[in-house]
Amino acid sequence: MKEPIQKVLRYMAIELAVYAALAIAYFCLVLRFLGTWLAGLFHEQRTYYVVASILLMVGQAIGLERLGTGLSYVIRRGKK
């Protein structure tokens, strides 16, 4: 059964706020620790760069999807 749209939007706003804080911390870490290494791979070993890029993107997608779903679950359970 579908939830009322107002309720869904309220949950989404809370999820977004919590997620934003976690995501900002995450991308600061990525830029700090992976930036130089990836730039080196890009210029010197293109094949490894391609593999690393795909793995990073797929890994990040799966990780962030789990994080989003987990947050949604926790926030809804906390509100009930």
Binding site: M12, S53, E65
Partner: protein
Amino acid sequence: MFFPISGVHINPFVLGILGLVIGILGGFFGVGGSFLSGPSLFSLGMPYNFVVGTDLIHIVGKSIVAARQHRILGHIDLKLAAVMVIGTLVGSEGGVDAIEALKRLGEVNLVVGLTAISVFTVISIFGAWESWQALRKSRAITDDPDGPKTDVLVFDRLAKFFQGLALGPRISLKQSGILKISIWSIVLVSFVGGFFSGFLGGGAGYIRMPAMVYLLGIPTHIAVGTDLFEIIISAGYGSIRHAMNGNVDILVALVMHTGAAVGAQLGARLTQYFSGPWIRLAFAPLPLLGAIMVAIALITGHHS
């Protein structure tokens, strides 16, 4: 902040917010969102060849997130997606080769820009006209605002033609409610989408999603979900090709994707509250916005 791979300075928070907006639109409309992210990255100062490749790999990540949400909602026709992948990959290869040829001629920005403007404008105008007519027709069918969400299609002549094409082999698509359709119809539509995916960047959902609805007669919600699933494969393939050619800045893509991942989930969940014609009508202005952004960037040569 300096991104050493593409050699550009971009504020990472702008990238995150851009990703979030594009993620919501992508999850809701079943498109990669390259009609907005491409022009936006271009106007932020990225060279167009990096825009195309970087946008593609960010779309792979975002589509994984959105497709999973649509799978939960039952909006993905796996059989249709499997056939579409064939045409998309062949078309994508042609598109990437065309970009490389233009790079050698030094005309990549102009030609890709003008093509993008033309394609986006046509899709916008046609989509707005058709969905408006469909909404009027669906209101005539039912005046009950709490009634079931109907998916009315006004312009169905092409869909009837492609579904009636007696060119074997023909398959049934139960999830999409189609009894028989030629595999070649599906391959042709996906080939065109694939070519634009490789040529203009992104997953070409802005072409394939409307094409699935208007040319193949797929219900809008199924077209949205299936397109996202198919984009993972086609954009993934295009990303590898572009990365090998040095057109991908993975750092920019990862930062954009942090916003896009949550946006895609939110957008996908919202689709269940809107009928097919409403989704198509809301989609119509977006490619036009992309066309305007490309036109401004081309005219002013603006790289802020």
